[in-house]
């Protein structure tokens, strides 16, 4: 088995500072090997997205540690977390989260703007544009480079979102219900692209309700009332 690229130790997350507190994660320990395809499943409100936010460095745990490539990111400053997200992690969200006033190409280029200095890719506007076009081609949307999100279908928007996640050639792709808002045809297309990208060596972690998708994963974690179990 490859070494762990994502690891958590006794991860706790409690929301709320007043008397009413929500214990979203209770001592979560997990290890995800580099290059694996994992799914986190569980019913709504049981902590799936919270776990993804913590391992993606979007939020900080109340207690416990998150390691990415053996670096404890729980202690990193806000700036260093931003750098980590820009260069090591690509996010794909259920509602695509594209910038509505930018074209597909510009959405990808915006992510590249924050990842400049990454040793994985060349900087410079011409290189960035070329790479953004290649990524669009990878997800089969070369003809939509200049289309804005409102000119594309849900499936197409999600594919742009995947291309954006790959903008800085990250090691890890974190996806929160990537097909949750798509019809079955678009879902199939998007999943095909996700599998294709995984085969290039990326570590893919998907938060999903979709049992069929989970069945194809190498590792499946189930989260229930903030507690994690491996199925």
């Amino acid at each position: 088995m490859n070494k762990s690229i994502i690891k958590t130790e006794n991860l706790e997350k409690i929301y709320g500072k007043s008397k009413v507190k929500t214990h979203a994660l209770k001592g979560v320990n997990m290890e995800i090997p580099q290059g694996s395809f994992s799914c986190i499943i569980g019913t709504s409100g049981h902590g799936k997205s919270t776990l993804m936010h913590l391992i993606g460095g979007l939020d900080k745990p109340t207690a416990g540690k998150v390691f990415i490539d053996d670096v404890n990111i729980s202690d990193l400053s806000d700036n260093k977390l931003s750098c980590l997200r820009a260069k090591k992690i690509g996010f794909v969200f259920q509602f695509f989260n594209l910038l509505q006033n930018l074209t597909a190409l510009e959405n990808i280029q915006t992510a590249m703007m924050f990842g400049r200095g990454s040793p994985r890719r060349q900087s410079g506007f011409a290189h960035e544009r070329q790479r953004a076009l290649e990524l669009l081609e990878l997800v089969g949307l070369s003809d939509k480079a200049n289309a804005k999100p409102n000119e594309m279908s849900g499936g197409q928007q999600q594919r742009v979102s995947i291309a954006r996640a790959l903008a800085n050639d990250p090691d890890i792709l974190l996806m929160d219900e990537p097909t949750g808002n798509l019809d079955s045809k678009s879902e199939k297309e998007v999943l095909e692209h996700i599998f294709k990208i995984h085969k290039t060596g990326k570590t893919v972690v998907i938060v999903t309700h979709n049992k069929e998708l989970a069945a194809q994963a190498e590792m499946v974690f189930e989260i229930k009332d903030g507690t994690l179990s491996i199925t």
């Binding site: 936010h53 993606g56 979007l58 939020d59 806000d78 700036n79 931003s82 750098c83 997200r85 820009a86 260069k87 996010f91 969200f93 989260n97 594209l98 910038l99 509505q100 006033n101 930018l102 510009e106 280029q109 915006t110 992510a111 590249m112 703007m113 924050f114 990842g115 960035e128 954006r164 903008a167 800085n168």
Partner: protein, 387 residues
């Protein structure tokens, strides 16, 4: 992609809001620029008028009010007056050359105009006038007028035309060569004729004087005060007093404009705060894909700064146009050339433009600080989870 491109896309996304916010700061800046420009023009014009008088000092009624000081410098009529015999007493003093003026206002071709009674020969040599057209007065009591070149042009008058002043007909005998002072907009009559026409027999408004030796100014002043109950002011003192008054007026006007600008700044704060709330999810996206707090801060500050830059430029254009229009308008309705300097011929004051744009930028950047800080303070999760 770069930050400026991203900011411009955001700025022009909601065109209506962009235009109205821009209008707010443009109008604020326009009023500021217009008043600044008019104020600067007034200062310039007053200085120019004072220099064109060609006098070392002025002799005025003792209790002259500040408005009349401005009137003397700008060639307007003054309410106080002096007995003519005072002129005769000062005229005989050694080392002093003095000329009297009787300034009045009357309708010429249905427009209020400044009429000045003078001693023809003495005034011509004192002011070093030259003729543009026609001839100068031939003798002291001649029933004719000599007019300034701008006056002739604006009223459509030529040498030989007849004009009616207070129901009496006069022939335009000559036109003075322009000397870029208030003389260009004035109608001159021999003093005795003016005194009769305006029923001011034995009265003059003020006197201009030159001295043979400037080093003896104090002696001359003492000599004048000894023979007449008058106030003496050198042209520098007079100019200083008038400019001080104008300075106070300018500051007051600029404070009024600053209030308009502050209101516009709150408009920017409002727009930017609305943008922060509306675009929380977008802020979350930028943070999720690697944007730092300072990147978000920069985006919102740049947006705010661009409002200031565009608003400042638009404000300068509108303000200078308004100053030119206002200067011409005031000049025409009041026959008052004080604001003539605001006309396009006077040129555009670059320092006003630079000051205005920098001020607009500063105000808008100041206005953008709080919204930008609010935006940067959002955590990626709270921003991206915003529905």
């Amino acid at each position: 992609m770069n930050t400026i491109k991203l900011v411009c896309r955001n700025l022009f996304r909601r065109k209506g809001r962009f235009v109205f916010t821009l209008l707010g700061i443009s109008i604020g800046m326009a009023s500021f620029v217009a008043l600044l420009s008019l104020g600067g023009s007034m200062r310039g014009e007053v200085t120019r008028q004072a220099q064109a008088m060609g006098a070392n000092f002025m002799i005025m009624p003792e209790d002259i009010c500040v408005f009349n000081l401005i009137a003397i410098v700008t060639g307007e009529t003054i309410s106080e007056s002096l007995p003519h015999e005072i002129f005769e007493r000062i005229e005989v003093l050694d080392g002093i050359t003095v000329i009297p003026h009787l300034t009045q206002k009357a309708a010429v071709k249905d427009v209020p105009s400044v009429i000045v009674g003078i001693l023809p020969e003495e005034t011509r040599s004192f002011r070093e006038w030259e003729m543009e057209e026609g001839e100068y007065f031939a003798y002291q009591d001649e029933n004719a007028v000599v007019i300034g070149s701008d006056f002739a042009e604006r009223r459509g008058l030529n040498v030989g035309d007849e004009v009616t002043i207070r129901n009496e007909q006069f022939t335009v005998k000559g036109m003075l060569a322009p000397n870029h002072s208030n003389d260009d907009m004035t109608v001159f009559l021999p003093l005795s004729v003016a005194q009769r026409l305006f029923e001011k027999e034995g009265v003059i408004s003020y006197m201009s004087a030159k001295v043979d030796d400037m080093a003896k100014m104090e002696q001359y002043e003492a000599a004048i005060v000894a023979v007449a109950n008058v106030q003496v002011a050198t042209d520098e003192q007079l100019l200083g007093s008038v400019l001080a008054i104008l300075g106070s007026v300018n500051i007051t006007l600029q404070l009024v404009a600053a209030v308009a600008l502050i209101a516009a700044a709150f408009g920017i704060i409002n727009t930017m705060m609305t943008a922060v709330y509306e675009r929380r999810r977008e802020i979350g996206i930028l943070r999720a894909i690697g944007g730092k707090r300072r990147d978000v801060f920069r985006v919102f500050m740049l947006e705010s700064g661009l409002y200031g830059l565009f608003g400042g430029i638009a404000g300068v254009i509108i303000g200078l146009s308004a100053a030119v229009f206002a200067g011409e308008f005031i000049s025409q309705i009041g026959a008052n050339d004080l604001l003539k300097g605001a006309s396009p011929q006077a040129g555009v004051d670059v320092s006003v433009i630079v000051t205005a744009v920098l001020f607009s930028l500063t105000v808008s950047i100041g206005a953008g600080l709080y919204p930008a800080w609010k935006a940067a303070k959002l955590t990626p999760v709270e921003a991206i989870s915003y529905e």
